[in-house]
Amino acid sequence: MKRNLIHMLLAAMLLSTACSRSPESTGIEYAPQMYHSVPLEPYSQTDYNNFFPDKKNAREPVAGTVARGKLAYYFPYENTQEEYDRAGNELRNPVPLTQANFDEGKRLYTVYCSHCHGKEGKGDGPVPKKDSYPAVPPAYDSDRVKNLKEGQIFFSIFHGKGTMGAHGSQIAPEDIWKIVYYVRKQRGEDLKFIDAPAQAVPADTTAGKQAQAPSSATRNMAQN
């Protein structure tokens, strides 16, 4: 009797070590129907969406439409040279230039830009320093960037410019405008902060360059 017990325990120990899973398996799930959502969750992989011919669950917006509440993401400038110049002439930064917005711009810059453009905007980030990366971003205080208008900087981040890819799908318009402030600071501009965050677009945040009231496009950006 005692020996049988010992044998059983030994067998149980061996069995439990034999069950240890390989790293490619998720292991045993108890009642898996409670683990996996029946409706298709974003990024879950229980099934394809068989209602759509391409089996994708996420849908792309219908061409030419803007989803409700997403007007701020609608950027009414095509990716051409003429539209680039037009954006430069028409767009003004709708985000108030407060210390908080500037600091947020700096933080966002280190997330989205500094690995290529460098911590101080000299074009010396770790990505272009690697040999396999064939291009070098321009320094912000170089002649080419120094005189760019705010709208052109926004345009370049949104649509991409030259070898730089488009970042409009990654960064919300309001956040791009905050980054624009930090880029302006890095090219040597003396930014004048305002104290309280204003509701409306402040009259003079662009150091005297504010020539006209913001266009409807700019106001759309501000709504975000």
């Binding site: 005692k2 120990m13 292991g27 994708k56 970042h167």
Partner: protein
């Protein structure tokens, strides 16, 4: 003696300086610096980027430096001016998607230095033969090998244990034989072993050890049910976080853009990969094979079926934005040293006890948000009166069932 030393010292120093002082930057050095500052964001020596590859550009312009210089200074004006190479310039403009080269504020000397650099630049180093698709896989140790070597180790340890036990048994038998006059042969040894195994104390110890070991193994096994710690699935593309997040220092949020805005941190869509990989076609480990899959997905529009690693059960609600944006946690606090992971795996247990433990320990800064100030007035009062020395997530209701299960 002193005067002699003084007399020779001055010329000697001059001579020394002539050797030590760095020579003035050569024309080629200037050209390289100017090229990198003004041209390299759109042009490469040997690859087409936004504009054409520039090695041999002077030959393509038939050596007409004056024309080329005028074009560089203002390409738009040059195309309209009807000069000798205007037709060629216009053809270039059309070939490169009508992308206008901006007018360059460079003088003739600077352009000359750049052109000299373009002519004299060393050819690209003979590229190291790119690893064939299979090579990289062979370089890392396959999992099967790790398992078999682990099994070997366990086997050796077990054998050692058996041998030690056997040796102890032999010694014990020898002692017993001398004391009780039992013959020192195999039969006597067997009777000794039997006496040892049926000894009540020994049997109790063995049973106890087996019970404790078995219970421990059973406990571990039960706790592994439904938890995926260490899960390292094979992904459709051999993407390395170690290279991208570690060596290249690309921020986690650059690709996982949803992490501050919503429940899911989101997988990057292919267009985010293409922000760099429209230029980078070759990786250090797998050559072109893996990156080609991204390009294929980008061109065909067929999504890459990444295998999700961190799966919480459907009955748990978890929100990334609350933890990253509001609480300000670093990604690594839960996901481990991702920037060192060649293959991504689940670092933490992600069990309920693991969540709760953190909610009990993490302190909250009540002054961080106006919402906290208005909602938790009692906690503020307790903090000020010294009744509480810290406020944890638990105090804000972080252990309530319905916080995560609803």
């Amino acid at each position: 003696m002193k005067s002699l030393a003084l007399r020779w010292m001055f010329p000697a120093i001059l001579l020394l300086l002539a050797f030590v002082a760095p020579p003035r930057a050569s024309a080629q050095g200037d050209g390289e610096v100017l090229f990198n500052a003004n041209c390299a964001s759109c042009h490469n020596l040997d690859r087409k980027l936004t504009g054409p590859a520039l090695r041999g550009v002077v030959d393509r312009w038939d050596g007409e430096l004056g024309e080329l210089t005028a074009f560089i200074k203002n390409s738009q004006a040059y195309m309209k001016a009807g000069r000798p190479k205007s037709a060629y310039a216009t053809a270039l403009y059309n070939e490169y998607n009508k992308t206008l080269m901006p007018a360059q504020a460079l003088n003739d000397d600077q352009i000359g230095a750049i052109l000299t650099y373009l002519k004299d630049a060393p050819p690209p180093a003979a590229a190291a033969p790119a690893a064939a698709p299979g090579d990289g896989v062979g370089a890392s140790i396959p999992d099967a090998t790790i398992y078999s070597s682990f099994a070997l180790l366990v086997g050796i340890l077990l054998l050692a244990c058996v041998f030690i036990i056997f040796a102890i048994a032999v010694i014990a038998h020898a002692i017993r034989a001398r004391e009780q006059g039992i013959p020192l042969n195999f039969d006597g040894f067997r009777s000794s072993i039997r006496a040892f195994l049926t000894n009540r104390f020994v049997a109790t110890v063995v049973v106890l050890l087996l019970v404790v070991g078995g219970a421990n193994a059973a406990y571990d096994f039960v706790w592994s049910v439904g938890l995926h710690q260490g899960y390292t699935p094979v992904q459709p593309i051999a993407y390395s976080h170690k290279l991208h997040a570690g060596e290249l220092q690309i921020d986690c949020k650059y690709c996982h853009v949803g992490v501050e805005k919503g429940k899911s941190a989101t997988f990057p869509s292919v267009n985010i990969c293409m922000n760099c990989h429209n230029l980078v076609e070759e990786g250090p480990k797998y050559g072109k094979a893996e990156i080609a899959k991204i390009r294929e997905a980008y061109e065909s529009g067929k999504p890459i079926e990444w295998v999700r690693i961190h799966n919480l059960p459907d009955f748990v609600y978890f929100n990334h934005a609350q933890h990253v944006k509001v609480a300000g946690l670093e990604c690594q606090e839960c996901h481990g040293p991702v920037e060192e992971m060649e293959d991504m795996y689940q670092h933490s247990r992600l069990s309920m006890g693991w969540c709760i433990n953190c909610h009990r320990q993490k302190e909250v800064d009540l002054n961080k948000s106006e919402y906290y100030q208005a909602t938790y007035a009692q906690l503020h009062a307790d903090m000020e009166s010294g009744k509480l020395d810290k406020v944890t997530v638990e105090k804000l209701g972080g252990l309530e069932c319905a916080r995560c299960h609803y």
